[in-house]
Symmetry: C2
């Protein structure tokens, strides 16, 4: 039982089967015909020796890792986790592995991940911007391998792009609130440096017919409650609805409203964006826009894999995926109107 420590190589198999390494290679790859006889003997040898091809040697030889990298700001976030799942499914269907980097919204960490991915020679990269993106290295990398910007666009970068239709999402929210009869809404915006945020806001303005009081926040839960504190529903600029440009801030707003003693949706309606897992289970369940996270990931990876197959070093396709409004219980007609209609 004292096994030799040395890894069993293709040569060991060849020797055991009485053939050349080339033949072993070919029964494995199917790249050229092999006689039934030989095939059997080789497979037997592989099985008994427990041979596993060395991926390192294969990549060195072929110049490809058969791996796609995916870099997200927060793996712990349901949205990104689903996106990753999409990437992984597409990749593994094509026989590729997925290596994931979690930047945790930290620029240094992101840079490190980008560097190790480059060094390890990933064949493609799905990049989801969180904090201000590491433009330079992305730029550099994008000349060597195809990159897809997922969920969040970055100008001045030649890559493929796969995003949800943020603008339509915003407009869905605006028309929903307008249809309910709201005539003034507090819009809690995210960082305007993010394209998604600007798009959502534009979309909202496209369809919301009342006055929109826009306050800028940070896409984080705390920003939502802070916005409510600084702009309470009955302040200088009264409103009956809150449109948070993502669910996290919507949850913050919900908490802020509760602290101030307002009831949702009776006194104030609240909508969010993203449809994170919590949205369905909080109290009250949040009306929001659902983004197809899994599809974003899958589409991005599929596109990348196609680019690779075609030998393209850089792609520049553009996919905009559809979004849908999910009406739950955080929205209702404003009080005045409700009174009338009853």
């Amino acid at each position: 039982m004292t096994q030799s420590q040395r890894r069993v190589s293709i040569i060991d198999v060849a020797t055991a089967a009485g053939v050349s390494p080339t033949t072993v290679s070919h029964v494995l790859s199917g790249n050229r015909p092999v006689s039934e006889q030989t095939d059997r003997r080789v497979r037997a040898a592989i099985a008994t020796l427990g041979y596993v091809p060395s991926h390192a040697a294969q990549s060195l030889r072929s110049g490809s890792m058969r791996t796609v990298g995916v870099l997200v700001p927060d793996i712990t976030n349901y949205f990104f986790a689903q996106l990753i799942t999409g990437v992984e499914d597409a990749a593994s269907e094509a026989g590729f592995s997925t290596i994931v980097g979690n930047s945790r919204f930290d620029t240094a960490r992101e840079l490190r991940h980008l560097n190790t991915m480059a060094q390890r020679g990933v064949d493609a990269l799905v990049y989801v911007a969180g904090a201000p993106p590491s433009r330079r290295i992305l730029q550099e990398l994008s000349r060597r391998i195809p990159i897809a910007l997922a969920d969040e666009e970055i100008e001045s970068l030649v890559t493929s792009v796969v995003v949800a239709d943020h603008r339509k999402g915003g407009s869905l929210l605006g028309s929903h609130l307008a249809a309910l009869g709201h005539t003034a809404a507090l819009v809690i915006s995210g960082p305007p440096s993010l394209a998604s945020c600007r798009e959502r806001l534009d979309g909202f303005k496209d369809t919301f017919t009342g006055t929109a009081i826009v306050v800028e926040a940070d896409y984080l839960e705390g920003g939502g409650s802070a916005a409510i504190e600084s702009h309470p529903p009955d302040g200088n600029q009264p409103y009956t609805a809150v449109c948070a440009l993502n669910d996290l801030m919507a949850m913050g707003a919900l908490a802020g409203l509760r602290d101030l003693g307002y009831s949702v949706p009776e006194e104030v309606s609240v909508v969010g964006f993203d449809d994170i897992a919590a949205a369905a289970v909080i109290d009250p369940p949040l009306t929001t826009v659902h983004q197809p996270a899994y599809e974003v990931g899958k589409t991005a990876a599929t596109q990348l894999l196609n680019d690779i197959k075609r030998g393209q070093r850089r792609g520049s396709s553009r996919h905009v995926l559809d979004v849908t409004l999910v009406v739950r219980h955080s929205t209702a007609p404003p009080r005045s109107r409700r009174g009338r209609s009853l």
Copy 2:
């Protein structure tokens, strides 16, 4: 600007700097002294050429990928996502990359991941069992590289183990319910094939002084509601509290109870286990046991990295991490008792 397509290798750098490849290698690794002069010239060449060492070649040469694998049943689950984050932090501190596999509770997928990880020669593996584990390949792998079973133990496998103190968690739940005055509880158990489940149940029985009606489910949300349907609070075996052995099932139970018209916690108390993200935001916020997911991951990876450093091919350490009870609003004294005390 028409760059040569060929990847720049250590030889290119050496030529440019007028030294030998060996020297370049050593300024990079620091494995032997290099004159200030040479060092400068080499670094300059590296910078101008944009040289990036080939990881494939390095691994082939050194026999190490400097990579740890982590295999989880569901990356989308907050608990596992946090665990992964822990692994990644520990790994990347030590200069290792992390490659994550998502089995999605599918045995075939799990097997495929295990195989590619083996093939890619990961230096260590953090394994979190979901479905019935692929014992054979794990067994095999554990003879080549150190493995840590995280969160969930598997008998008859020589590996390291890092788990939360499931038993203590169960006992915390039992004593909490008992202290509140409950004398009969419905225990919604998970698959008894999982050690965590058995431990939690034992712990509960250790401290819960009343009668425990145990019904077996599947650790999934649907199982929780099904259990309530088949065993309503006012059926043959009445109870005033339900102890779900994980949060998902607790959420199912909550829904089931609501459907039947019971109010929580006034009429029935509910507790869960895991403290997933949703637990804090559902209505009512769930009393549950918090597991240190991040620490489980970090501890596992750290242990593995130590094993590697010591040249151990297999470890067998054992870490049991502490858990805490998080009391929220899904538990209260039972009605009768409440009546008395008011």
